[in-house]
């Protein structure tokens, strides 16, 4: 290590490295914004993974393309475009693909149509704009390092609102996600919850894609939840672990990116991928281990039910 060089260098002293990172206001803002979107995307992503709505989430992420280009066309801040299009996309998906009467293939076909329309609109806006959209790279890969104080505040307010809504809806939403038929019979508004959830997911996607870009939203939306769900089946710890993993991914990713020539999004996505693969490997190892231990019983005898019914012999 040469003394007196302005280039940031990674040392083995973690405390020194951390204080070096926190010296700069833009890094503090990046960490704050990253933490907020990691928590918000993690919690909504947890339900999204449980509800198998990953494709819907992906389509909502694509909404940022017409959102940003449309905003550029009429000359307003890109964030407005993100939120308007993600919200409209959530409603369209909820209306087209929602309802328990639709089969799985019909749902994904409906979502695919919405996605195609969104991308086509984005393309239209680009050609109407005529000029070169300078922010195209930011749109796709995010602007971790250019987050303003106002943006941090807006993200915090948005995240707080979403979390309060999610806390109020949490248990019936879980019920409707795992067991829609029974939840409906118990008076849970399954269809309404589905649309509200997609709306919240749209907000989370819009907020996250401002930081990570359209293409890397899933690093924070899917990977932490999928990793946590692979590791534990208890809903409470699983949600907590999701947030912890998401926040850790952002901090470590930003920290490494500060000292390196490669973009933050690359590190965030790579760490998310590595953690997910580790979790899958752990599940696989545990599965092999427990199936060796457990002699697989063919029929489970009904305990304390007396003799089996007569006349039925397998």
């Amino acid at each position: 290590m040469r003394a007196g060089v302005a280039e940031p260098t990674l040392t083995w002293n973690l405390a020194r490295d951390t204080s070096e990172v926190l010296k700069y206001h833009f890094m503090v803002n990046a960490l704050l914004a990253g933490t907020i979107v990691a928590a918000m995307a993690g919690l909504l992503g947890w339900f999204m993974v449980l509800r198998r709505q990953t494709f819907a989430g992906h389509t909502l992420a694509m909404m940022a393309f017409p959102g940003a280009t449309g905003a550029a066309l009429i000359g307003v801040a890109a964030a407005w475009g993100y939120f308007v299009f993600c919200g409209a996309g959530a409603l369209a998906i909820g209306w087209l693909a929602g309802g328990r009467t639709r089969s799985w293939s019909e749902q994904s076909a409906g979502i695919g149509v919405v996605q195609a329309l969104a991308l086509a609109l984005g393309f239209l806006f680009v050609s109407l704009y005529g000029g070169v959209l300078g922010d195209l790279e930011n749109l796709l890969f995010g602007t971790f390092l250019g987050v303003s104080d106002g943006q941090v505040l807006a993200l915090a307010v948005l995240a707080a609102g979403s979390l309060i809504a999610l806390a109020a809806l949490g248990r019936p939403l879980l019920f409707a996600s795992v067991d829609p038929d029974l939840a409906g019979a118990r008076g849970v508004p399954v269809r309404g919850l589905s649309i509200v959830f997609l709306g919240l997911l749209g907000l989370a996607v819009a907020a996250t894609s401002q930081i990570t870009g359209v293409l890397l939203v899933f690093a924070l939306l899917v990977a932490p939840a999928a990793t946590a769900q692979a590791l534990t089946t208890r809903p409470g710890p699983s949600l907590a672990l999701t947030v912890a993993i998401g926040v850790a991914i952002v901090w470590v990713g930003l920290g490494i990116a500060y000292f390196s020539a490669y973009p933050a999004g690359f590190y965030v996505a790579s760490i998310a991928f590595a953690l997910y693969m580790l979790a899958r490997a752990w599940v696989w190892v545990r599965g092999v281990h427990s199936s060796q231990r457990r002699a697989a019983p063919g029929v489970e005898p009904e305990m304390g039910a007396g003799p089996p019914a007569e006349g039925v012999i397998a």
Binding site: G187, V188, T233, E302, A305
Partner: protein, 295 residues
Amino acid sequence: MSAVSAVSGAGTTAGAAIELRDARVEVGGRTVWSDVSMSMAQGEFVALLGANGSGKSTLLKAALGMLGLSAGSISVLGGPAGEANAQIGYLPQRRAFDAGTRLRGVDIVRLGYDGARWGVPLPAPRWSAAGRRRGADAGRVAEAIERVGASAYADRPIGECSGGEQQRLLIAQALVQRPRLLLLDEPLDSLDLPNQATVAALVARVRQEAGVAVLLVAHDVNPLLPYLDRVVYLAGGHAVEGTVAEVIDSETLSGLYGVPVEVLKARDGRLVVVGQPEPPAHHHDRHEHSHEHAH
């Protein structure tokens, strides 16, 4: 055949679990069944039989108030359908949980108890009022799981449980709110024969221990034969009710289907119905579209 049920004059039978009088249900403009009258007393174990599409699940949904009648009347636990749902344990017809469902059996049972309540359960210390209530709720869930003999695998992810284990946990889920009436939609479906027998025995035992009336939809009566009080058979848009011997009979079923149908009795007591107009069930394609079609 409704002579078996004790219908008292014009009013509803006192203490009836479910009572239908000249009921008709239409789904999407099509009459599923009409002129259906049945009465089921408290604590009775009744099987609801019939071919696919005969409207068995529709009858359960009508009893839950999820579908309105277009004619006739229905009363459930002494009131209009839908009002006493908190006292009804319902097990919807379904496929098994996907192998990737990352929730434990105990969580699924738990949702049957408080899943419809808004909010989320927050951690609370054991000595606080909220903590004590949480403890009592957990005890209730454990009790329902104990009752169906599922304690050994209730902490495993439900997707990793076998079909018979899942069915037992789902019965625990229906029992957890201590219902007076159980509506079970094809709980024996997709189980192998030994598991059909043990789950049927379990339902009979639970019904006795918990003193709950059971209306169980099945399309094979044989696993249930040792335990049933009566059966209701839906076919051709109408229903007959009575004892197994009265209803599952060549003459009665021929009248119901409108074509000659023969009931054969095997030496071990199993009943086989031959010659129904509809082809026998294809187990798998039925469920794919279960939401579009009324059963």
